[in-house]
C-alpha cells in the first residue's frame, strides 16, 4: 500500500515537473521568438549570403562558394585588422581589466555606508552615454588645446600627438576605462564577493593571513568564475567593437586602429562590397564563438 502511494506521489511530482516545464517554455516563447528574429535570423542570413556575390537589387545574387572566405584568408589587411583587435585586447587587459577587481575588493572592505557611497560613485560614469564621454575624452587628448598636453607640460614633459600617434593611440582609447569606467564590472565583482563564505575569511584571519594573502587565497578563488566570464566578455567585446573606434579615430592614424569590424564596415560603406563585409563579420562571429566555447569548456573542466 505504501509502495502504491509513493508511486502515485512520484507520478504526481513528475507531472508537476512536466507542467512547470511547459509553463516555463510558454513564458520563454516570446523572448525565444524575438531572439530568433533579431539575433539568429541576421546571423544565419549573414552566413548564408557570405557564399554569394551579393546583388542588392536582386538578392541574394550569384552563388560563389567559398570565394569570399578564400579572399579573406589571402588578404593582408584582414590579418592586420585581426592584429589590431589583438592589440586592443592586450591593452584593455593591461589597462582596464584588473582595475574593477581591485576596486571591488577595496570597496568590499569598507563599512556599509561608505561601501554604498563608493559603489554609487564608481557606477555613475558607467551609465553616462558612451558617445558623450568619448567626445569629452577626445577633447582631453586634443593635441592643440586638450588638457592632456597641459598636464604633461605642467610636469615638464613634451606635448604629444596622442590619438594622432600610432604609439599612443591604444593607450589613449583605453585610458578612460582605466581611470573612470569599469563601474559596471565592479558591481558584478562586488556581488560575487558577497558569495565568498565569511567562514573562510575568519579561518584565514585566525591562521594569521595578511590582507594580501586573504585576497590571494580566498577572495580571488571565490570570484574566479565571474573573472573568467568578464574575461570572455572582454574578449568577445573587443572583436565586436566598431562604433566606438569609428568615433574615436575612424580607424586611424594611418589605419592603426582599423579592427576587423571597422575594416568590414569600410568595405561595405566605402567600397559597396557587401559580400566581403558580411564574410568578414561572419568570420568574427565564428572566431568569437570558438573562443567562447573553448573558455567555457575549460572552465567547466576545472
Amino acid at each position: 500500500m505504501k509502495k502504491i502511494q509513493s508511486g502515485h506521489r512520484t507520478e504526481k511530482l513528475m507531472s508537476n515537473t512536466k507542467r512547470n516545464e511547459r509553463l516555463a517554455l510558454l513564458f520563454l516563447l516570446p523572448s525565444i521568438i524575438l531572439f530568433a528574429m533579431f539575433k539568429y535570423y541576421p546571423i544565419l542570413s549573414g552566413v548564408f549570403v557570405s557564399f554569394f556575390d551579393i546583388d542588392i537589387v536582386n538578392l541574394p545574387g550569384d552563388f560563389c562558394g567559398f570565394k569570399n572566405y578564400i579572399r579573406a584568408f589571402g588578404d593582408t589587411r584582414f590579418y592586420e585588422a585581426i592584429w589590431h583587435n589583438v592589440k586592443f585586447f592586450a591593452y584593455s587587459i593591461v589597462m582596464t581589466f584588473w582595475q574593477p577587481i581591485i576596486l571591488a575588493i577595496l570597496v568590499n572592505e569598507m563599512r556599509r555606508k561608505s561601501k554604498t557611497a563608493f559603489r554609487l560613485l564608481y557606477f555613475i560614469p558607467a551609465v553616462v552615454p558612451a558617445i558623450a564621454t568619448t567626445i569629452l575624452w577626445k577633447y582631453f587628448f586634443n593635441p592643440d588645446y586638450g588638457l592632456a598636453n597641459y598636464v604633461v607640460q605642467l610636469f615638464g614633459g613634451q606635448p604629444q600627438l596622442w590619438l594622432n600617434d600610432e604609439n599612443w593611440v591604444y593607450f589613449c582609447m583605453n585610458f578612460p576605462g582605466m581611470v573612470v569606467f569599469g563601474g559596471m564590472a565592479m558591481v558584478y565583482y562586488l556581488a560575487a564577493l558577497q558569495d565568498v563564505p565569511n567562514d573562510l575569511y575568519e579561518a584565514s584571519m585566525l591562521e594569521g593571513a595578511s590582507f594580501v594573502q586573504r585576497v590571494r587565497y580566498v577572495t580571488l578563488p571565490g570570484i574566479k568564475n565571474i573573472v573568467i566570464t568578464q574575461f570572455i566578455l572582454s574578449l568577445t567585446g573587443i572583436f565586436g567593437t566598431m562604433e566606438n573606434i569609428l568615433l574615436w579615430t575612424g580607424g586611424g592614424p594611418a589605419g592603426e586602429t582599423e579592427t576587423i569590424l571597422v575594416y568590414a564596415y569600410k568595405q561595405a560603406i566605402n567600397s559597396m562590397d557587401y559580400s566581403y563585409a558580411i564574410t568578414l563579420s561572419t568570420i568574427v562571429f565564428i572566431v568569437t564563438l570558438i573562443i567562447t566555447y573553448a573558455f567555457q569548456k575549460k572552465t567547466q573542466e576545472e
Binding site: I33, A36, M37, Y40, Y41, L44, S45, D55, I56, V57, L59, N142, P143, D144, Y145, L161, L163, N164, D165, E166, T249, G250, G251, G252, P253, A254, G255, K266, A268, I269, N270, S271, M272, Y274
Partner: protein, 459 residues
Amino acid sequence: MKKGFLKAMAALLALSTMLSVASCGKKDDVDDGMIEITMWSETNEDSSDVEKELEAWMDEALAAKFPNIKINKVIKSTGLDYRQEYDKALMAGKAPDFFARFSYTDLPTRIENGTVADITNLVKDWDLKKEDKVITVFDEIINTNDKWYAVPRSAYVKSIIANTTALKAAGYDTSVMPRTWDDFKAMGKTVTDKQNAKFGHILMGMDWCAWPFSSWVWSAGGDMVTANGDGTYKLTFTEDPAVDAAMFWNEMIWDAKMTQTNVLSAIDENTTMLANGSGLSMWGSFTDLRPEILAQNGLSLADYDMFAIPTKDASIAAPALAGGEVITFNPKADEETLKAAFEVATYLYYDEEYLAKEWEIRAKHDVSNVDMPARSDLYIMKLDTCEDLDDDAKQRIVDSTVNAIPEPCPPHWSDLKTLIAEPLQKIMLTEGISRDEAKKLLNDCAEELYKLYPEAFRK
C-alpha cells in the same frame, strides 16, 4: 538530442522564411489614374524653422503641380549614413523612387552594380537638356556607354575658403591672396597663433584626405590617375607632383606650423573650426560654413572669401575641384513610376518658379547657400538672393566654376581613396620624413592597388 537540434533548426528556418516573406514590400493600391511614388524627406519635428517652412512649401507646390501623382513621403533622417540607408531600403524593396544625395563619384560603382536606374529615355525627351540649361560638369560620369543614369542636383567648387576678417586682424594684407605654396606658408606663419588656437590653415587629414589631396596634386602640376585609354588607369600619385604635394602637407604641419596639430580631425570638426574663427583658411567651399555656427560666433558669409589653391610655382594653373550631388532613380521602379519620379525630381531641382521661392525662403532666414544649382542659367539669380556676399565675392564664386574640374573617378576610386589615406596620414604625421620615404609609402600603396584591382589599374 540530434532530433531536438534538427527540430530547432527547422523551426528557425521556417521563421526565417516567414520573416523574409513578411519583409517584402508591397505598395498600397492607388486610385485609378493616380501613380504613386515614394520620396524621402529629412525634415522632421526637430528640424530648423527654415527647413520646416521649405517642407511646407514643397508639399503645397507638389500637391498643386501633380494632382495625378500620389507622393508617399517617408521621413528619413539618413545623415551621413545615406548610402547605407538607401542600400538597405533597396534590399527591402522600400527604396525611394528618386534619391538626391549621391555624389557623382558614387555613380561608376552604382552603374556597374545596377543600383541606379537607366533613365536614358527620360533624359533624351527632356526639354531643359535640349535647351542646354542643365549643368554638364558630371556628364562624363552619369552618361556611360550612351546611357544616362542620373541628372545633376547641384554642384559646388572647392578651393580655399578664408576668413578674411580674421586674416586682416592678424596683420595679413588680404588684397593680395597667396599665389604659390611659398606665399601660402608665409601667410600661415604670419597669422597662426597656436597659443590662442588660431590656425592659418585647417588641414583635412581625416580618412577622406584623398579628396582634398587630389586638388593639391593638381596644384603641383600632376594628377592622381591618368587614363591608359583601354578603360584602365595608371596610378600617377607616385610621381613627383604628388610626392611634392604630400611633402608640402608635411611642411605645413611641421615646418611652417600653420595647421592644427590634430590633423586627423573629422570634417565636422574642421568646418566648425573654420566657422568659429579658429581656422583662418581651409580647402572647401562656402557651403562648408554652417549658418548656425557662424551666427553663434558673430560671423557671417561676409567675413569669408574664396581664392584659388596656391600652386607649387606661379607657372601652374590650379583648377578648383568641382563636386556635387546627382539625382538617381530606383532601379526596381516600373516605367510609369520612373516617369512620375523624374517629373517630380526635376520640378524640385529645376523649376525656376519653385527654386526662386526656395531661395527666397532661405534668404529670409539668412541661410542662403551659394552652391551652383543644376540649372546653369539660374546661378546668377540664386547668388542675387544671397545678401551676405558683395558683388565681387559673387563674381569670384562664378569665376571659380569656369576652371573647375570634377574629381577623377575611375572604377574602384573609393577603394583607392580608402587605401591612400593610410600613407598620406603617415607622411603627414611623421616629423622630418624624407622625400624618399614619402615616395616609398605612396609606391607601396600603388603596388597594392595594382595587385588588388588589376581590372581597373594598370601600370
